[in-house]
Amino acid sequence: MRLHDFRGGVHPPGQKHLSAARAIESLPMPPRLYLPLQQHAGGPALPIVTVGQRVGKGELLAQAQGATSAPLHAPTSGTIMAIGEFTAPHPSGLPLPTITLEADGAERWIEREPPSDPFSLSPVEVAVRVGAAGIVGMGGANFPSAVKLDKARQAGVHTLVINGAECEPYMSCDDRLMRERATDIVDGIAIMLHAVQAPRALIAIENNKPEAIEAMRTACRSDTRIEVLSLPSRYPAGSAKQLIQWLTGLETPAGGRGTDTGLLVHNVGTAYAVHRALRYGQPLISRIVTVSGGAVAEPRNLEVPLGALAADLFAYCGGVGEDCVRLLMGGPMMGQPLPCAETPVIKGTNGVLALTLAEVGEHHSSPCIRCGHCVEACPMGLLPVEMANSARREDWSGIQALGLSDCMACGSCAYSCPSHIPLLQYFAFARGQLAEQRREESKAKKIRMLMEQRQARFARQEQAKAEAAAQRQAAKKQRTVVAVEDDD
């Protein structure tokens, strides 16, 4: 198949050698797991367990709320210790409603009911099972996979793209998953093809992972619908829109979705989770996480129960050195800084990094020299320098006109800026301010409505009072008339 190209992009140092050679190991079950109720895009899950309740491994802890949401299951058997707030894996360090589960060490599974043959189920039933297993996009977008499968089938998608590009530096969890569990992934892909009723699948892998490409080619040799493609390594090839451009040359319309081009992109981790759910009836309760960075003694790839703390992962990998200046959840390009290591792994966590000062590369920013490197690097064809200037001036209509909503915060512009201007921070600031404006506007609208309703209620009450008074008057008058007649 002929590959096309996408514009822009950068070549950050891969740093994958730190962890890519290490086979996946299982993290020993931590004593306590912390499961935030909001691990996905959409409405938070609604807890259905009570404090003190004993639960089995895989038991439903919280159910999906609303059309776009995902349920949450117990990653191990144990007792519910608390349903309260706990530090979210988020740069603010603010809390999220969280279920705390104390492991009993028994790993007692609940009764599982996998279908005898996933392909005998209707596509809708497959999507329902994927949704019930709590599967969300494992690449980090956290979008409920069942919703994506359903929408794609309705849109008549012709190609399922399995994203194994893993373009983020340091990350090697997808690489190891493809090397070690290729047949399981291919089975998951076949089930997903059935769910979307698409005729073919493409597995896209960057060419810096030759072992993974080889393993996947071997695993899907018998299935002619599935093809493995080797992509040139360039960040951000693993972004859905760029991947679609690599494969088809089609650009996703601004504000549109990948399915608008007839392709559906899912991560390899998602395909693996679908395989576990439909073959073994296992909900999504664990994932592969890369633990890496210059400050980690022994970088590794770990299979981690959801809810384990980043601190547990670092401790298993020999601890974090004193030279660590920053903790990240996700890769160095798009990951989020963590306020502390005591934050839990969630469904979309592909890696946790502890970086040294040399890796972070803190620089003072200097004035823009108008070199245009950021414009060349932007894969979305935006003007990062102009957008940052608008954000600095707080010109919100200007930055929207420049296409802030199309920016996916890949960081290629900031990476290529020789003046080290914090472009991404300007965009994040602008996004926050615009969201704040939207919230304020919707609140002002709501308050106006409440005031009008109150005034209408008062008017009704006044009218009711006046009517009651008139009735009393009429009754009194009648009584007087009757009395006068009686007197006569």
Partner: protein, 175 residues
């Protein structure tokens, strides 16, 4: 009795006629800009801007004596709208963080006074029960603060949550 009724009725009719005539003859032509601004302002006459009510605040805005950010309940959304309507620039320092009413449950005696004054029905609570403020419905007008006998109602800045938190502006040179 009939004579008294007739007198009062004719008096009422006469005065009513006089009033309606006066309203026509001494009519003050109203300003379209004033009306526009009145539709933007919350219209609760809370007096937090320092003017007796929304109408006099609108006059002051038109005369250029008041800043578009004068209305705490309207917040920065209203300040922006007013600035655009009046063709004035808004200095970002003009609006502080929005303040919303909050009840200290230890001090609330359940007198149920505050709820009657709230223009948006943001306060709930039955007599002799602890009251609370729906933050989503409160606009921080402060009318309830004045009537609370135990001073348990206060205007406070909102605590950030994951839904409202956002990155600050980079405090760096360059760009």
């Amino acid at each position: 009795m009939i004579a008294a009724m007739a007198t009062l009725t004719s008096l009422g009719l006469l005065l009513g006629l006089l009033l309606s005539l006066a309203a026509r003859i001494f009519r003050v032509p109203s300003n379209a800009l004033h009306e526009d601004i009145m539709t933007l302002l919350p219209g609760v006459n809370c007096g937090q801007c320092g003017y007796p009510g929304c109408s006099s605040a609108a006059d002051a805005l038109i005369a250029g004596q008041a800043s578009p950010a004068l209305c705490p309940p309207g917040g920065s959304a209203l300040a922006r709208d007013l600035a655009t309507r009046l063709g004035r620039t808004l200095e970002s320092a003009e609006d502080g963080p929005p303040l919303l009413a909050a009840i200290d449950e230890h001090l609330c005696i359940g007198c149920a006074h505050c709820g009657k004054y709230c223009p948006t029905d943001a306060i709930v609570g039955a007599p002799k029960q602890i009251h609370t403020v729906f933050q989503e419905a409160c606009m921080g007008c402060g009318l309830c603060v004045a009537v609370c006998p135990t001073e348990c109602l206060q205007l406070r800045p909102q605590a950030a949550t994951l839904a409202t938190w956002s990155w600050p502006k980079p405090a760096l040179e360059g760009a």
